[in-house]
């Protein structure tokens, strides 16, 4: 039976179960070690939650094809949406397992609704309340992921991508810099707005040659690269990472549980785009399997990069209504 994914600020049960579940995954150790994955330093076991951090980084550093260093196995190309849907499904099933609740559905953060607020109110929106994700800080000092140096069970970042792009071991609190000034960013560091989501949902094509950050289409706009008259990059998904800042900035961004709330909303926007015509564009995906082998990893029947499970394909990620639905689609 399909579970229902809901807005985290409107469903306190989903919110509390999400917090409880990610904390359980953070304390679950099934055997994989830092040494077994080539992460320098003294070998120690990696929690199930942190394996997702490693997986995301691994996909991001797997270039597709290996002869170039732009498009990777999860980003900067068509597979961005199906790969993250695969990741969310794996997290959701693991949360159901540790919560012993197969009715649990991931919550999402409707960041475009918060994007309608002033910058000051974006930084104090309900999602940053102490009973939700907690606020800004280095380390975060409020909410369920606040750092307490005297409490080994407080939320700690243990695996981190460094400035060279390699995984390293740390033991510190979570960092966020909500809406902080960012060099090179056009204008203030603010969240996307509803008009930006609408511009993406209105795009007719899913993606297009050259299947990269210079493509025109829904995927590149919602990922946040495309230059659009309404939406200046970094936009939508990318802009949310930049707005939150801190540990949401490197390839180890799943360290912040807000990562999944962002991507769940991106997935919700994709589901909105895939509604039947005339509201949407149908469950279509390109490139097809007949496209060049240089697009391996992004074609409809290619295998998605995995770490903690068996794999799947973009085709198998197009219709997941047997697994979950959303309480409401993006407006």
């Amino acid at each position: 039976m399909a579970v229902v994914r809901s807005n985290i600020v409107a469903n306190s049960t989903a919110r509390d179960n999400y917090v409880k579940g990610v904390k359980l995954l953070k304390r679950e150790f099934n055997g994989p070690t830092t040494a077994s994955l080539g992460i320098p330093g003294a070998s120690r076991q990696i929690s199930t939650y942190d394996l997702f951090v490693v997986w995301h980084h691994f996909a991001m550093t797997t270039f597709t094809p290996a002869t170039q260093t732009d498009r990777n196995a999860a980003h900067r190309g068509p597979v961005f949406l199906p790969w993250h849907r695969f990741m969310l499904l794996q997290l959701e099933m693991n949360l159901q397992r540790v919560l012993n609740d197969n009715t649990f559905g991931l919550p999402y953060w409707d960041w475009a609704a918060d994007g309608q607020r002033t910058l000051a109110k974006q930084k104090s929106a309900p999602i940053w309340a102490a009973n939700c994700m907690g606020a800004s800080g280095s380390p975060v000092k409020t909410g369920p992921f606040a750092f307490d140096a005297t409490d080994p069970n407080s939320w700690r970042v243990r695996i981190l991508a460094d400035s060279s792009g390699n995984l390293t071991q740390v033991n510190r609190g979570l960092r966020r810099q909500l809406g902080a000034s960012t060099p090179g960013l056009p204008g203030p560091n603010k969240l996307p707005k509803k008009a930006h989501t609408a511009a993406a949902v209105g795009r007719n094509s899913f993606d297009a040659d050259p299947w990269s950050v210079t493509s025109s289409g829904f995927r590149n706009l919602v990922e946040g690269w495309e230059n659009d008259p309404v939406v200046q990059p970094p936009s939508l998904h990318n802009r949310v990472h930049v707005f939150v800042g801190g540990d949401m900035s490197p390839s180890s961004s799943p360290n912040d549980p807000v990562f999944y709330l962002n991507h769940c909303n991106v997935d919700r926007i994709w589901e909105t785009w895939m509604r039947p015509a005339p509201q949407g564009h149908g469950r279509v995906y390109v490139p097809g399997q007949n496209e060049s082998a240089s697009l391996k990893g992004h074609r409809i029947n290619d295998t998605l990069t995995s770490l903690i499970s068996g794999s799947t394909t973009p085709a198998q990620m197009l219709n997941v209504t047997q697994s979950y639905t959303y309480d409401s689609l993006a407006q």
Partner: protein
Amino acid sequence: MANKLARPTPKSIASYVKKHAPAVRKAQKHHHMSSTSVREADYNGHHIVVTTTYRIEVDGIALMGHMGVTNDGSVHYHPIPNMRFTSAIDLVKQVIDVFPDDFAGRKRGSGGRSMKMGGMSGAGKMVKRTARVK
């Protein structure tokens, strides 16, 4: 086609991680003293190849991640994957902000601020650019 994902167990997770570990270890070996990007385009029957090499230093120490250039001339740096920049200097400033621990305690080099840029020529020629930021 409907999805067919198996439900995870602690045992299945350990098993799959063991299977994929060699590929993860291989992906961990990203070190670049310099970053080279090759851009290609065809124009009026001519084939254009632009090769750009960046070598970036902060306080005399090289940034080891890969920096790339897209066809619109913007630059990106893999360790901060959600942004691109029109200025390499702004990019490096953001790297310093995102990874404060990697730069903590360093002293500014005695040479002061400098930026060296190599020659640039027209379409069909190689472009080499070296950025040194202190």
